[in-house]
Symmetry: C2
Subunit: 365 residues, 2 copies
């Protein structure tokens, strides 16, 4: 009914049906930006006032692929930066089926009741999200989605992991400037995205299920060692003993890991997202971590390291993009790769050959 394209199609009898362009950005985006052309200063003002509509529109600019939207987004971010950085950023991961949405709903509601303002963001580079899944996301977090102090935003739509992660990181800045003092960044624990999430949050939370077999199949190797806290879900009813057993197994395993750089020893808790049991303890754990790392200086150290990491990551991503989208390079890439695989040339000679091609092409030779 409120789909903007419908307006074009059913405007009356005089509609001239020509060849219709496929919209390059969401028609919603076009509509919103046309509706009111804010300046970056106005956007920033609205964000600082905590205006959620304006915040959403600014995030849409951050997510847009259009050059002029990106320019505006960067200006807004630059203006918001001095007001950002004051939240506690928590990464949350777990395989599908671990009960992430229910957990975030319960955990988030606990924070809202404590008087906090919560932004829930996500990184999910593989999925192509549409309007539908935005609603889906909100439905997944039933209680939270009705709270005015909660801002739920799904993952930026498809793109490279680097691109999607950058957009989420920039959205954190805007949310913090808008007064959100807690940020969740959710991801599915099956791909490369955990490392990206880990590099933008203060605390990394891994949701697990009781049991030591199939439940772990989906989780990628290496993730357990990134966790500052492991929480075992569905510790309710008949499952309590199993969850406790799992918790003690995880605790033992963590003792075999070398200590984290933060000096923090990861905690293992059991809880039930569905029955709202043990939720307070999760937040207490995060709060204790924040106190602990602020005291020993690791909190600020990590934030600085992350800012640098993202700068260098952006540089590397851009360099790679420039290389792999270069026509002279793409013309010989797969052929060269095959020569490496059939042992005709070494990996290094192959690389050098393509780099030479690239640089010659860049300098117009």
């Amino acid at each position: 009914m409120d789909h903007p394209e419908n307006e074009d199609i059913y405007k009356g009898l005089k509609v001239n049906k020509g060849v219709r362009e496929v919209p390059s950005v969401s028609p919603y985006l076009k509509k919103r930006i046309k509706r009111r052309d804010y300046t970056p200063a106005e956007f920033t003002e609205g964000i600082l006032e905590g205006n959620i509509t304006i915040l959403s529109q600014a995030v849409t600019l951050v997510e847009s692929a259009k050059h002029e939207h990106q320019q505006m987004a960067q200006e807004i971010i630059e203006r918001c930066l001095p007001y950002a950085g004051k939240s506690v950023r928590i990464g949350i991961t777990g395989v599908p089926g671990a009960g992430k949405s229910t957990s975030i709903d319960s955990f988030g509601m606990h924070l809202i009741k404590e008087g906090r303002k919560l932004a829930v963001l996500a990184i999910d580079p593989s999925s192509e999200r549409s309007k539908g899944s935005i609603l889906g996301d909100k439905t997944r977090m039933e209680a939270l989605s009705r709270e005015k102090n909660a801002f739920i935003r799904p993952s930026p739509s498809a793109g490279s992991l680097g691109g999607v992660a950058r957009k989420t990181r920039e959205t954190i800045v805007l949310c913090e400037a808008a007064g959100f003092d807690t940020v969740f960044v959710e991801t599915v624990g099956v791909g490369q995205s955990e490392t990206a999430v880990h590099s933008m949050v203060d605390f990394f939370l891994l949701i697990q299920l009781a049991g030591t077999g199939d439940e772990l199949q989906g989780i990628k190797r290496g993730i357990m060692e990134m966790a500052d806290g492991i929480i075992i879900n569905k510790a309710d009813g008949d499952n309590v003993d199993k969850a406790r057993l799992a918790a003690s197994q995880f605790k033992n395993a963590l003792h075999l890991f070398p200590p984290a750089e933060s000096g923090w020893f990861p905690k293992v808790l059991t809880y039930s997202g569905y029955y709202n049991i043990g939720i307070k303890q999760i937040w207490d754990m995060v709060a204790e971590y924040v106190r602990f790392t602020k005291d020993n200086g690791y909190f600020d150290f990590k934030r600085n390291e992350q800012a640098k990491y993202w700068m260098y990551e952006s540089i590397n991503e851009t360099l790679k993009d420039s290389f792999y989208n270069n026509k002279a390079v793409t013309a010989i890439l797969s052929q060269t790769e095959n020569q490496v695989l059939s042992n005709e040339i070494s990996s290094f000679v192959a690389a050098k050959r393509m780099i030479d091609t690239y640089l010659a092409n860049l300098s117009g030779k």
Copy 2:
């Protein structure tokens, strides 16, 4: 006595003592290459005949920073490639004090006695190795260093991890062409080098010590999950029970990890490098792994993935080198980094600014 510079200095009374240049490469290298200027074809022929002197000289070319040496090295590698790839490549890591050298000595001697030919290489990007430490390395492996079927070569001297790792990878090719059917790549388990080693070997072996506390301090997080086998050293005398306990703890912990891509479940063994106990079992484990992964196709799959990885890794390293050594970039790098750290500009704007500077400089604008 056979120091080449002595020849210049003490040649007779007519020596003209001018300002002497500091040698940019090892004087040994100069001498060897001068002594007999092999062509790449001759080098390759010598290597294929298993001539260790010629192999050593070729490795020296691989390690040289000189452009003409590099060119020759690449030609030799290209000629050797069809004869390479037939060894079992084993990565070995462990913190200093875990008994790596003694273990490699015992493990290696077992292989020599089985009729195998063993090359022992290393990756150690942080150290600046000199002639002294080559001898040091050989002394560390007392028995092996006397065996004609063992070729021990220390880590290429200082350079970036990427550079050092590439040289080691290329040295593997030459050793394999020379008929070595087993290659050890050793590294100290404290830095970034394990990932590099992991990406050039078939089997990754982690040496641990009994105990669950301080001994682990040095091992980097994430390494345990890369291991195909964990071997607990010093399982001798009073220490046997402690080592067995540690082994069972590691076994339990590994059960909490998700299964490896290879389908192989990592084994945990106890042994004594010093007293030569349990060494055969280590090789049996590796052999079982090789059979298992050759049967399920993972062995070849991984080799191909590694070849591609190194091609793309070389490309990325070269792109980064070109960027970070660009004068226009270095002129603004630290200033821009500071602006990011003080929240003046976003990481992305900083990155974009530097990329623009770089590309403008490249195309001569």
